[in-house]
């Protein structure tokens, strides 16, 4: 049974689904505090199965199977086709491993929460949707699971739905990603209409690259718009910081490690299409780079720890898109393969260290009585010792601390690819050079604001806010253990995969060579650009040093700098006023909606009510006949009889 992965491929999504259903039905009443068991078991089994899939793919498995015909209509037949190749295997391992660890963490974090069962049901549902998304082999199923993860995100962000801010944040997330999803759907439909009404990846990626350039560009941009929405790129990034209203494990799972990477996965999956459309890749890279820079600027002045991490997520996702967009083909420098693998590698490492950071922030929140404003606590390295070391690991990885941490290696590859794309003679080289510079600057800023947050939280005098009460102690083992494993991954993965290039090689061999060999360069070039590595390492250390100096040595320096540049500070603090601009637009639409409501209520409903009144009026016309007088009734009977006789007579 285990030799053909197609036999157990379907279990990977289905087990969490079953766990979710069981938890939802039996959790609130019967399982209660043990509601986590179905989810943990399912996630664990999925993780094990994902490793089996990885093993099978490494042995050369590359296949898909249609498990169930969803619907057939005319000449369209859509089935639940699941398949695995290198990309899918990597994503599966990421999702299930990180998911399982976060589920274990949640046991401790959500311990006293009344909605315990609901939480685990939703987490299971999310795991089902995400694994289904990466396993999908045609666009419709992909889109279905895309919406599924969006739904779970809504449910989990709005987990504390009694808080108006949480409910509003959930709505905002759903609606903003919906804007991107519209583009995605139109793109899928364009593909469908132009690809002989076929939507499975194999056929589409054979036919689509032969389209005329304009059509290809439009389709690529539409597909990318879905990624912009889901992966929180400019201009649809506004939902991710507000999504921090959800519990910290949720932020770790969905908004750091898995869901937001769905956009990256989509663009990576469509590499055959993007690879032959340099214009679209330029757009992707530009938006990615610009978003990375913008988010880093905003993160400089945030006071909420989780917001800082949210903006850093946006920034890192920008890096991934920058990498995806750097795979332009040109003479002599065929980059398509390397750039995409760099993006996926960064996705992989980012999942680990960002999840670790969010879980640590959750641990801090748990200890501080749900206070996460950095201005209200400090010096926590004496209070929360283990959390401190784990947070430090994650911060180091994020800021790209040289050599030891994984973030260094993956970010480095991206910057190297951007530089190569900017080499003279290739398509859009100036833009790529500019983006490279932007990327380097952002790397420095990343290090700065990460360690700013670290120093503000863990250094300085020991201050604990009043809400903490008795909770100001370190987290229990059930929360620390997953974080430790993630920290191990954040370190080890970089050391193992970074210098050796096993990861990239794996992806190339088991995904790219099988799917789109004609796009790849003839000669496999995997090298490390020592110059870029040194430069980024120096920038990272500089950023860390600056943060140390501004927040440990001279704490007043930060305030002085803020007062010197008041307008820049205000811009950064207020997220460049983007939320306000969107808010004005939304208010305009809300007014229009009010007008429509009035029309619906008074005109449409009014017409229906009028129609409903007609029988009443007819009845009121006929009522006076019943006046209670017997003679009147007899009179009517006689008149009727007389009329009838006369009509018969005169016929």
């Amino acid at each position: 049974m285990f030799d053909d992965p197609r036999n157990y491929l379907w279990l990977i999504p289905v087990l969490p689904l079953l766990a979710g259903v069981v938890t939802a039905l039996a959790g609130p009443r019967w399982l209660r505090n043990q509601s986590h068991w179905p989810c943990i078991i399912a996630a664990g089994c999925s993780c094990v199965l994902s490793f089996f899939v990885l093993n099978a793919v490494a042995d050369g498995f590359y296949n898909a199977k249609e498990y169930y015909t969803w619907f057939e209509a005319g000449n369209v037949s859509i089935g639940f086709t699941l398949g695995a190749d290198g990309l899918t295997a990597v994503m599966l391992v990421t999702v299930t491993l990180v998911g399982s660890l976060i589920a274990i963490y949640s046991i401790g974090y959500m311990h006293h929460d009344p909605g315990y069962a609901r939480y685990f049901a939703e987490i299971s549902l999310f795991l089902f949707s995400m694994t289904g998304l990466v396993l999908a082999e045609n666009f419709i199923v992909l889109y279905a699971f895309w919406e599924g993860v969006g739904l779970c995100s809504y449910l989990l962000i709005g987990y504390y739905f009694t808080r108006p801010s949480a409910a509003a944040a959930a709505r905002k997330a759903f609606l903003v990603t919906r804007l991107g999803d519209i583009g995605l759907l139109i793109g899928i439909l364009l593909l469908w209409s132009n690809c002989d009404h076929l939507l499975d990846f194999q056929n589409v990626f054979e036919i689509a690259p032969t389209f005329e350039p304009t059509l290809r560009m439009v389709i690529c941009l539409l597909l990318f718009s879905g990624a912009v929405g889901k992966s929180a790129q400019f201009p649809l990034h506004v939902w991710l910081p507000d999504a921090m209203e959800g519990p910290s494990p949720v932020s770790a799972l969905i908004h750091a490690a898995t869901m937001v990477t769905a956009g990256v996965y989509l663009v990576a999956r469509c590499t055959p299409l993007f690879g032959v459309t340099p214009g679209a890749q330029l757009v992707v890279a530009s938006i990615g780079g610009f978003t990375a820079f913008l988010a880093a600027l905003i993160a400089l002045t945030q006071t909420d720890l989780k917001r800082v991490l949210a903006y850093s997520t946006i920034s890192q996702l920008g890096y991934m898109f920058l990498a995806l967009g750097s795979g332009t083909r040109n003479e002599g420098h065929l980059l398509a393969g390397l750039a995409v693998t760099a993006a996926i590698f960064h996705l992989f490492t980012h999942a680990f260290f960002k999840a670790l950071l969010f879980l640590s922030a959750g641990s801090v929140m748990h200890a501080m009585g749900n206070v996460i404003d950095m201005r209200r606590f400090s010096g926590l390295r004496h209070v929360l010792k283990k959390t401190h070391w784990l947070f430090l690991c994650g911060a180091g990885a994020l800021s790209g601390f040289p050599v030891i941490f994984s973030g260094f290696w993956s970010k480095d590859e991206i910057l190297a690819d951007a530089l190569e794309a900017g080499s003279p003679g290739s398509f859009g080289s100036f833009v790529y050079l500019f983006l490279f510079c932007l990327g380097m600057l952002t790397a420095g800023l990343t290090a700065f604001y990460t360690f700013r947050a670290y120093f503000l939280t863990f250094w300085g005098e020991v201050r604990v806010p009043g809400e903490a009460g008795e909770h100001a102690h370190d987290s229990p083992l059930v929360m620390i253990a997953p974080m430790a494993i993630l920290a191990l991954g954040a370190v080890a993965l970089g050391l193992i995969f970074g210098p050796t290039g096993i990861f990239n090689h794996f992806l190339e061999t088991y995904w790219m060579k099988k799917s789109f060999e004609h796009l790849l360069p003839e000669v496999e070039k995997h090298h490390h650009n020592l110059l870029v590595m040194t430069a980024s390492g120096v920038l990272a250390l500089a950023g860390i040093g600056l943060a140390w100096w501004m927040y440990v040595r001279k704490p007043a320096a930060a305030k002085e700098l803020a007062q010197t540049l008041p307008r820049l500070y205000a811009l950064s603090r207020n997220k460049f006023y983007l939320d306000d601009i969107y808010g004005a637009f939304v208010r305009l639409l809300a007014g229009f909606a009010q007008v429509l409501r009035v029309i619906d209520l008074y005109i449409v409903d009014g017409v229906i009510d009028l129609l409903a009144q007609v029988p009443r009026w007819l009845g009121m016309l006929a009522r006076p006949v019943q006046n209670g007088l017997v003679q009147f009734y007899a009179l009517l009977m006689m008149l009727g009889l007389a009329g009838f006789l006369l009509s018969v007579l005169m016929r």
Binding site: Q631, F632, L635, M638, L646, L649, M650
Partner: protein, 340 residues
Amino acid sequence: MFDFLWEYWAALFPAALGFAGIYLLLPRLDRQYRLLGAALGGAGLLAAGWFLVENDAVLPETILFYAFSALAILGGGLMLAQHNPVHAALSFALVVLSTCGLFLLLAAPFLMAATIIVYAGAIVVTFLFVIMLAQQAGLTSADQRSREPFLACLAGFVLLTALLCVLQKNYDTHKFDALLAKIQELAQAKTEKDVKRVLGDPADRPPGNMSPPLFAELEKSFVDFDRGKADLLLIQTPMPVAKLATFFQDFEEQVQRARNQVGALQPAADLPLSSFSGLPPNKELAKGKVRHEMPARNVAGLGRALFTDYLLAVELAGTLLLVASIGAIAIAARHREGLR
């Protein structure tokens, strides 16, 4: 519409007069129109008598019929017009007595007696008793006013008109009788002059059409009329009066038989009725007779019919009487303490 009016004017005219009369006679608060109403009602009655039930025979039967019917209708009108309920009840008694007279004319002596005893004797007296028990002092709106007089009269008289028109359409034998009279004259013709008197002068008819208009009418009205033969007989010179008379005598017999069938629906011959109920009506009438003879004396025959053919109905009627009497006592009893 106008054809309708013209065809049935004999029914419409008395009905219209009666409508006006009764409308004015119904109880109303102002009493000035009562004389006019009475006059109109009487005129309507006379018109009905003249046009509707036209009869030129002066037999005791006819006179009695006219008298009793006029009395019945007058009584009915009086009953409607009286304010005093006692007077109205007495008028009703008059109606019942007149109707019993009509029963007598229709060879139903037992019914006449039974109706007088039961109806006029028992029921009307009961009504009078109740009027006495339910007396109201002074003038009451129950007696002085009427409810919707116009519409009520309209309903009643439209119904009446419809009924009379239907009756006239089905049973009116005037034209029939005129034709029959002419045929009878032809049957008894002795000379050519008699024939000419009935059929008209040959010189008056348009040339090329020697057939008299009477023959055309006869042909239209009777299927069996052999017009060709009649024409042949007429044309011969000298006119064979005797043959013509014989021909028309035979024809008269046919027509008379048809005349007697008017108004007699023919039920199936195999209806399970015993001979005690009388002869089935589709039995051929004897020559020269107009109506069947009654099989036995009325009371005996009625008794036999009741207790053989209608036994179940008689038993049920008896039960009904019992139940009604118990019911009447139960409804109207005053329930006092200790007294039942």
